[in-house]
């Protein structure tokens, strides 16, 4: 890469300043505040706060309920990431192979992405409504009495389906463009060497897609961990009850509904650490296997 020369050594910092200011005000400052208040027990109106050390953390981590939410979050994140990446990739590979009317297929597969998560949740809620939901009626054909909102597993399945459905188009767009950047010469050479399409996918296409797939893996995990909040909120209808929820929803429930700022801050710091560890893991161990050009 060519080095850009600035006439003054301060100029680059000036250009960076707006971005840094935004990051500082909206990311670092709140994070520092969260870390600070996680060590205190505070009344909601802020009249007095008591330093309690790590007890907010031990209360959260020691709670059976918190542990079961954490377990669900792991399963949920893994399934949503795997399914939305897998299905997105399958669709992209197939759509890439379509010659006639490919634009129509691609558009149809992409437009779901324009739906906002709460709206997706709302649609999911209607599809899975106990009384009128078409998918519930469909499940009943197979003798499955689906009770979303009542049965833990049924609600979990519905949440995963809606979250995956919402995320597939995003993966589709990226994988499709990744596929299209594979040079025609490489494809042709591979086609001459190997007849099996499946084998060509595993030995040629997938390795060349690795940078895209790695990027998507990171994005999908953060999506499943954090951005599914809207879907979950709408699907549990504001009342989590015995329905599955993720850790980020628990932070919201304790902080904004329960007004327990200390406990909620501790939980959000735990989430911050999880993301931090995950990021390090991904970049140290997975990215090494990814070849950029």
């Amino acid at each position: 890469m060519k080095r850009v020369q600035f006439s003054s050594p301060y100029l680059p910092y000036l250009f960076l300043a707006p971005q840094m200011a935004i990051i500082f005000v909206f990311f670092y400052w709140p994070s520092v505040q969260a870390i600070q208040s996680s060590f205190y027990l505070e009344d909601p109106f802020g009249f007095g706060s008591t330093f309690v050390g790590l007890s907010n953390y031990s209360d959260a981590l020691g709670s059976v309920q918190y542990q079961s939410i954490a377990r669900f979050t792991v399963v949920f994140t893994a399934l949503v990431t795997f399914l939305s990446l897998g299905i997105g990739m399958l669709l992209a590979v197939k759509a890439d192979a379509v010659l006639k009317g490919s634009a129509a297929y691609k558009t149809l597969l992409i437009w779901v992405y324009a739906i906002a998560p709460p709206v997706a949740g709302l649609m999911g809620m209607m599809f899975f409504d106990q009384h009128i939901g078409p998918l519930v009626k469909f499940a009943a054909l197979f003798g499955w009495d689906m009770k979303v909102g009542l049965n833990y597993n049924d609600t979990a399945i519905a949440m995963i389906i809606v979250s995956v459905w919402k995320q597939i188009p995003y993966n589709f767009i990226f994988i499709l463009s990744g596929l299209q950047s594979i040079p025609a010469s490489v494809r042709e050479a591979a086609a001459i060497d190997c007849r099996s399409g499946t084998r060509r996918f595993w030995t040629m296409t997938l390795p060349l897609l690795a940078p895209t797939a790695f990027f998507l893996l990171v994005i999908n995990m953060t999506y499943a961990l954090f951005d599914t909040f809207g879907v979950i909120d709408v699907m549990v209808k504001d009342k989590a009850a015995n329905n599955p929820i993720t850790l980020v929803y628990k932070v919201y429930m304790d902080g904004f509904r329960g007004n327990d700022l200390g406990g909620s801050s501790a939980q959000s710091v735990i989430l911050m650490i999880v993301v931090f560890v995950l990021t390090i893991f991904q970049f140290r161990f997975i990215e090494r296997r990814v070849h950029y050009n």
Binding site: F45, L150, N242
Partner: protein, 432 residues
């Protein structure tokens, strides 16, 4: 660079204060839909009735969101003059004594008379100090009442039950007639908090939490409460009771569609139900257990109250007091009662509506008030428990597990008690 900005700010502040003849006060609330519109109408009436104060209502979403925004605003010194706080959040705000000016002090301080006895029995204690001083101004109050599908009862040839024993007796007939005998919409409010109040059983130590936050313990393993939920589960298994999750509307829907015979709803549901119910309906009191000694007492106020936030200038507080005074006038109470279906909270307003023949035309509207005016008992005036919104979430979770068959009633109640007591102890630390 800063000069023009601050000058502009100064000019803005100056012009704003110059153009304001009336004192502006704000009111944050958690009402939406028709109920939100009625709040705007109440504010318009207040603004039209006098010229010294201008009241602006602002909807902050749901009850929970209104409380959360009120708290956040208070912490940054931007609090509204009036904040609407719902029943479960009452302990949060009342136990933060510097956050609000008690409504009674505010009203008497502004030179208005204040008579506690003017309010109906069921609303008098919930938002008050242990010695009876009003901290919050009761605003929209509701009671859990039983709606009755008249057609279903006629078909089955039975009367609406007054007690749960009577319900048990008629449930098979209702089922035979092709109806789901019973649905409800909120197990926490209707079958827990009001169960204790309607059956006159102690809900928590320290006088249901009113006397102190220190060492308050909840009584979830009460044998009668366990019995109630054991019955509900048995009824559910036999097809006498339907549970469709913690969401209010999923359960109400069966009554609206005429599939359920009895529905425990809110007295405030009546306005909406008139539009949505497909079958004629009437209403009766929330049943109680004949077998529990001393049962049959009144239920306590649900809904929400208005709190005057502290840290505001005197002239604004005067306006808030004027508005509270205005709100309790019989005409406004009657208007609000009839426009929303929430009960009238003063005796005078109730008498006024009655004298105009309102309840002869719409008898359902009277059921909630009458239930709140029933004789009271030692334990029928509600509760004051910290972190109660979270305790409700625990109840919702465990109750859901009971009906999903994942736990037994006894285990669920034990879990709720343990977790709730932990939260109460935690709250005592924050408030202490």
């Amino acid at each position: 660079m800063f000069k023009p900005l601050s000058l502009a700010g100064f000019a803005l502040a100056f012009s704003a204060s110059a153009s304001m003849a009336a004192t502006n006060i704000t009111w944050w609330h958690g009402m939406a839909g028709r109920n939100g519109e009625v709040i705007n109408e109440v504010a318009q009436k207040f603004n039209a009735a006098q010229s010294a104060c201008a009241l602006t209502p602002v909807s902050k979403g749901t009850y929970e969101e209104a409380l959360a925004s009120g708290i956040a605003a208070f912490r940054s010194g931007e609090q509204p003059n009036i904040l609407q706080v719902f029943d479960a959040g009452a302990a949060t705000i009342i136990n933060a004594p510097g956050a609000v000016i008690p409504a009674e002090d505010l009203i008497t301080g502004a030179g208005h008379p204040f008579d506690r006895e003017a309010f109906i029995e069921g609303v008098r204690y919930f938002y008050a100090t242990p010695d009876g001083k009003f901290v919050g101004m009761p605003f929209n109050s509701s009671a859990p009442i039983m709606y009755v599908n008249t057609e279903a009862l006629e078909k089955a040839g039975v009367e609406a039950p007054k007690t749960w024993e009577e319900f048990e007796a008629i449930a098979p007939k209702l089922k035979e007639a092709g109806y789901l005998p019973l649905v409800q919409s909120q197990l926490t409010w209707q079958f827990t908090e009001n169960f204790f109040s309607r059956n006159n059983i102690q809900f928590a130590t320290n006088n249901n939490g009113y006397d102190s936050v220190t060492d308050t313990k909840i009584n979830m393993t009460d044998p009668n409460l366990v019995m109630m939920f054991t019955k509900l589960k048995a009824w559910a298994d036999e097809g006498y009771f339907g549970y469709f999750g913690a969401g209010w509307n999923d359960n109400q829907k069966l009554f609206e569609d005429g599939k359920a015979a009895l529905w425990i709803g809110s007295s405030g549901s009546f306005g909406g139900l008139q539009k949505t119910a497909q079958k004629p309906f009437t209403a009766a009191f929330l049943p109680y257990w004949q077998g529990i000694e001393g049962a049959g007492t009144n239920s306590f106020i649900g809904g929400a109250a208005l709190f005057a936030m502290s840290g505001k200038p005197d002239e604004e507080n005067k306006c808030t007091a004027d508005f509270f005074q205005f709100l309790t006038s019989p005409e406004i109470q009657k208007f609000y009662h009839q426009a929303t279906g929430y009960v009238a909270i003063t005796k005078a307003a109730y008498e006024l509506a009655k004298s105009e023949g309102y309840y002869e035309k719409t008898p359902v509207a009277e059921v909630g008030i009458q239930q709140l005016m029933l004789k009271s008992g030692d334990w029928s005036k509600g509760y004051r428990l910290g972190f109660y919104p979270q305790i409700r979430e625990i109840m919702e979770r465990e109750y859901g597990r009971i009906f999903a068959g994942e736990t037994s009633v006894e285990d669920a109640m034990k879990t709720i008690e343990t977790e709730a007591n932990d939260l109460l102890a935690r709250f005592a630390k924050t408030a202490g």
